[in-house]
């Protein structure tokens, strides 16, 4: 059921609560309500019993295996018993006047314990049991019912809320544990896959080589193998990037894995060896801008055009440069085209980057291809 290590702080809190409320009850008897008790020595006996039981239960609950029905039930019974035992202590009249029983707030201990261990479904009944005892004790006389009711309501609230939160925390911890296990398993799979990929890639490359040497039909087979080799290598290159758990929890994303899908036999991706982290939204916007730039290349330079995507990671900013080996155009033309409104796509790219607080620069020269430099600053 609940994972011990997550609920440890809660059990410690319960122990602190018990001791504190014991202290409170002691203070009450010692100072405030002396004259309310017909049998003062009995009050001290009850307090002694409370002290003993506080020690026993706190020690008992330190071991996770002992946080089970036997101890919890004993806890509940002892508290209820001690509460009811104060019947003979106080002047019957005073009890009905709404004077707090000797046990005071200490009786809430088992309610919290049941709630943390088994959720609100257990905290609620425990609270009701003790509230019932309290009602039985203090009676339902008109003047005092609101006081007793207050106590009962608070105990029920405590039982339900603490119970619900304890279960919630346990569920979150379980899911996180599961996610970590899935992560480890997938990383292992990727490692194995890498070996297989390498073998396949090697053989495809060999076929391409030998096919070219032999010539004829074999050469055509070789070319087919070569294309598949490039495609598979581009795919493997992307999945070879490490998948991190940290960023998943902090909402940051590795832009390399997002851009890896763009790699192909025509598009070469160059990136640092470590993850390049950006906020999810920034990464998504940047990826769209890169895709738009690549689509632009295909549109203006043809489907066979080659392009390179370089990812750079600096402390101040992340820069992605897209360069193609197309014909390029003189600087002036860019401004003209913008003026003539023909740069719809480029506009979108520049606009996207500006929205991110970054910049997009387009550089070109005849015969030297076109470079689009996308820069996203880092908020540090």
């Amino acid at each position: 059921m609940s994972e011990p290590h997550l609920t440890e702080p809660l059990w410690r809190a319960i122990a602190v609560y018990r001791v504190a409320s014991l202290g409170y009850a002691l203070a009450l008897v010692a100072t405030i309500d002396r004259h309310d008790y017909s049998r003062l020595d009995w009050a001290w006996a009850v307090l002694a019993a409370m002290a003993v039981w506080t020690a026993v239960s706190t020690v008992g609950y330190t071991r996770p295996e002992r946080r089970a029905v036997p101890l919890l039930t004993a806890d509940l019974l002892v508290s209820a018993g001690l509460l009811l035992s104060t019947w003979g202590l106080q002047f019957p009249a005073d009890l009905h006047r709404g004077v707090m029983p000797v046990t005071a707030t200490w009786v809430a201990g088992p309610v919290l314990a049941w709630a943390v261990r088994y959720g609100w479904q257990a905290g609620l009944p425990a609270a009701l049991v003790l509230s019932g005892c309290d009602f039985a004790l203090r009676g339902g006389a008109a003047g005092t019912i609101s006081v007793t009711l207050d106590g009962a309501v608070l105990m029920v609230l405590a039982g339900v809320i603490v119970g619900y939160l304890a279960r919630l925390a346990a569920a979150v911890e379980r899911e996180r544990q599961h996610a970590i296990e899935v992560e480890a398993a997938s990383r292992e799979r990727e490692r194995l896959a890498r070996d297989i990929h390498d073998s396949v890639l090697q053989v495809l490359a060999l076929v391409q080589r030998r096919g070219a040497e032999i010539g004829g039909e074999a050469a055509e087979l070789g070319r087919l193998a070569g294309r598949q080799e490039a495609a598979l290598r581009a795919l493997v290159g992307g999945s070879g990037q490490a998948v991190l758990t940290g960023p998943v929890l902090t909402g940051a994303v590795d832009i390399r894995s997002l851009l890896a899908t763009e790699a192909s036999e025509h598009v070469t991706l160059s990136a640092p060896a470590d993850a390049v982290l950006l906020k999810k939204e920034e990464a998504a916007e940047l990826t769209s801008a890169v895709r738009a730039a690549l689509a632009n290349v295909r549109r203006h330079c043809g489907a066979q055009a080659l392009a390179w995507v370089l990812i750079e990671d600096e402390p101040e900013a992340v820069t992605v440069t897209v360069r193609d080996d197309g014909p390029g155009f003189p600087d002036g033309r860019l401004a003209e085209a913008a003026a003539a409104g023909r740069l719809g796509v480029s506009h979108a790219i520049v606009g996207r980057l500006r929205d991110l607080g970054g910049s997009a620069t387009i550089r070109s020269a005849p015969g030297e291809g076109t470079e689009v430099e996308l820069r996203v600053p880092r908020a540090r």
Partner: protein, 212 residues
């Protein structure tokens, strides 16, 4: 020397090299064999597959360079530029090429390696750039200095990483082809030196603790 665990590859590469006029002094099918043979064979250039069954290509590179600091290692990898290619370059490799490169490209790479030039792919340039940036941003140990790229070197690496041919780099920056190659080679040398210093420092630290 050709080191590759796939017999067909080994033979194909050895054959291509022999046909191009190189002398293949040894072939090895795993890292241990390569390190054993290198002493006797004394190759000038080693063509090394990163995926070996017994040792990582990175460790083999280190071993080869330790045995003979003058040897030039060209690493080949089937699956493209990833962390292990960067590690091999840091350990002393002179360049990298993907296994599926065409024969002319491969022979050109071997020639350049033999001539003492670095062989870079755009992907490797991206990795090297990233490595220098990482070193610049990482906390520096006392008495240590992170290796730095000059602005010129950074500019050139960025152009290599975006696929600009060396000739175009040279004309754009008004430099000679030779100067561009030297700059690229320098970046590798800086990495090698830094790696070597790091290894020595590591060895000293741990050697001392063993003695006490």
């Amino acid at each position: 020397m050709v080191v590759d665990d796939h017999p067909m590859w080994r033979d194909a590469v050895a054959r291509d090299l022999a046909e191009a006029g190189y002398e293949v002094v040894a072939t090895a099918s795993d890292g241990a064999q390569a390190l054993r043979l290198t002493g006797a064979a004394r190759p000038d250039v080693v063509v090394l597959d990163l995926q070996l069954p017994d040792m990582s290509g990175v460790d083999v590179t280190r071993g080869l360079r330790a045995a003979d600091p003058a040897v030039r290692v060209l690493v080949l990898s089937a699956s493209g530029e990833q962390q292990d290619v960067l590690d091999a370059v840091k350990a002393g490799a002179a360049g990298y090429l993907v296994k599926s490169a065409a024969r002319p490209e491969f022979l050109d790479a071997v020639r350049r390696t033999a001539d003492g030039d670095a062989v870079f792919t755009p992907g490797l340039a991206g990795l090297v750039l990233g490595e220098f940036r990482r070193l610049a941003a990482a906390p520096v140990a006392a008495g240590q200095q992170a290796p730095r790229l000059t602005e010129r070197e950074t500019e050139i690496l960025r152009m290599v990483a975006t696929g600009v041919p060396y000739k175009q780099i040279a004309s754009r920056l008004s430099l000679s082809h030779r100067t561009v190659q030297n700059h690229v080679q320098n970046t590798l040398t800086k990495l090698h030196l830094h790696n070597r210093v790091e290894l020595v420092r590591y060895a000293i630290e741990h050697g001392l603790t063993d003695e006490t």
